[in-house]
Amino acid sequence: MKTLYDKLWSDHVVHAESDDPNGMVILYIDRHLVHEVTSPQAFESLKLAGRKPWRTGSILAVADHNVPTTDRSSGISDPVSRLQVETLDQNCEEFAITEFRMNDERQGIVHVIGPEQGATLPGMTVVCGDSHTSTHGAFACLAFGIGTSEVEHVLATQCLVARKSKTMLVRVEGDLPPGVTAKDIALAVIGEIGTAGGTGYAIEFAGSAIRSLSMEGRMTLCNMAIEAGARAGMVGADEVTIDYIKGRPFAPQGALWDQAVAYWRTLKSDEDAVFDRMVELKAVNIKPQVTWGTSPEMVTTVDGYVPDPADISDPTKRHDVEHALGYMGLKPKMPIQEITLDKVFIGSCTNSRIEDLRAAAEIVKGKRIAPNIRLAMVVPGSGLVKSMAEKEGLDKIFLSAGFEWREPGCSMCLAMNDDRLLPGERCASTSNRNFEGRQGPGGRTHLVSPAMAAAAAIAGHFVDVRSFIR
């Protein structure tokens, strides 16, 4: 009667500091993903201490946060960003770490390329100096984000000192209505439990609606687990998982493949497993979601309204909502569909995979972006996603609708490169965070699914994507 989390955890415990089942343990790490922002200080300290990476074969590195999404043939023009990317290149070269460099077709957002390469496999512990590492839990992995000191710890020891989380089961049963996606499930769950609802927990997503999701959808869902406060999100392995992995470059082959698959099939919670907390949603009740505030829990449905602080009795919450509405430039009780937009961003580790681009292209096909949209951009999650989309003609659909078609990277999800909002600009974004200044200082972010972002680009304001697909 073990949960998937229990199984993954106990399979990786090297040493327990005490008999306390909730005490600190030394946990073995199978896969270490590395990017340019959170690793330079870790490599520096490692070298200063005279240490070397324990197992370089466990590491896959890529630069994604700082890379330009426009023409890269002349390199990165911002000298500070360039130095950070070059530092990663040098560290990988020095220690013979596999890295996909900026102009390698396999380069992309770290949470897109891991699964794409088969470098993320069921049963692994996967870490990265990035909170959205929870994404990889879609493959029945224990995957979570770590800080730079822990990046150094994993480099030096192949282990982390960690403590077991509590477990939460989020079960979504039934069929998702047309136009409703994994992103909407994620935002609905966050709306339900809050951005701190998952703090201290590892969340497992289960139920027929989750099993019906593609791996891309499951990744979107697990990606957003951290926005619910949970360091890790996960989905049990099934045929969808196994089919996705088969034939990928880093995946096992031949006899090893058969051996691996036999093990992977055991990676799900036992029928009678007990969770510390259960949350149940009915798929049929989930509608397209739109955030209106500066925290992902400030979310409502596309047919909803901006809340009125006067209706909130808790003074701290009321103050937060007032503050958020002020920042967002929104009026209480305003219909969500009357919110007009300046920019549209389709991309990020949440929603930049092929299925996301297909869903957006489906809406955009044969239409033009509204005149009030100053910029609508599509940033594929990797070079391979980009080329696959181009083979399917998606780039042409986006370009002829007035979208820009960019090179892969994190881009305007966090605006570390040149892709950013100007103060006061309002954006429909398929990314994961609507914090103040996240997409540029003073920028106003509304989180939505790719289909909803595409529909908003065409209409110039939020619109119910379900009316587009009827």
Binding site: G23, D78, D130, A251, D320, F435
Partner: protein, 221 residues
């Protein structure tokens, strides 16, 4: 890491819930490849009226007089009292680095985001989880009393108010031990290097596909 010593320090209040790591240290400062110097950009978008960028001369920047940490009475603060879910968002250790570099040694809040909480201990910054009602009172008392100080004793796991009221807090014993002794956690883990090697060998036997070595485009076992 330096040893965490008992101290009495000025308290600054930050009366907001869900203070995220983008607010603590905005992304443009994450381009640095150094570990130090982030304190001057702590809460950059709230603290200054102009847009901050790496390398910008801090003496030429315009302070936001409405931001609480800019008030003269909170200069030199070593303890920050904040609301629920402090440090939510990204895994950037730059957030605890910035708080520590600014001068904070302790953050008190009713709850913290998991990754942030964990990151604090790695650098010797102490996050203290305190009941919401106590945080409420601390924020009120700090606002009402000039030069309000708290005494923090990690060994005894107590926070003492100026009136002598003692609040006990919980902390994991291993983390406490590391902080009090300023221990290098990597060094501690490496004391178990043999155990890690044995574990790794067994793992290689049971799940050999996890040890495929990538060498350029070729895979070898």
């Amino acid at each position: 890491m330096e040893k965490f010593e008992q101290f009495k320090g000025i308290v600054a209040p930050l009366d907001r819930a869900n203070v995220d790591t983008d607010a603590i240290i905005p992304k443009q400062f994450l381009k640095s490849i150094k570990r130090s110097g982030f304190g001057q950009n702590l809460f950059d978008e709230w603290r200054y009226l102009d847009y901050g960028e790496p390398g910008k001369d801090i003496s030429l920047r315009q302070l936001n007089p409405d931001f609480i940490l800019n008030q003269p009475r909170y200069q030199g603060a070593r303890i920050l009292v904040a609301r629920d879910n402090f440090g939510c968002g990204s895994s950037r250790e730059h957030a605890p680095w910035a708080l520590q570099d600014y001068g904070f040694a302790v953050i008190i809040a009713p709850s913290f985001a998991d990754i942030f909480y964990n990151n604090c201990f790695k650098i010797g910054l102490l996050p203290i989880v305190s009941e919401a009602s106590i945080v409420d009172r601390l924020i009120r008392d700090t606002l009402e009393t000039d030069g309000y100080r708290l005494e923090v004793n990690l060994d005894a796991q107590t926070v003492t108010t100026p009136s002598g009221e003692i609040h006990r807090f919980e902390v994991d014993s291993f983390r406490k031990h590391c902080l009090l002794n300023g221990l290098d956690e990597i060094g501690l883990t490496l004391q178990h290097a043999d155990k890690i090697r044995t574990f790794e060998m067994n793992r290689r036997d049971r799940q050999p596909w996890l040890f495929l070595q990538q060498n350029g485009d070729k895979l070898r076992t």
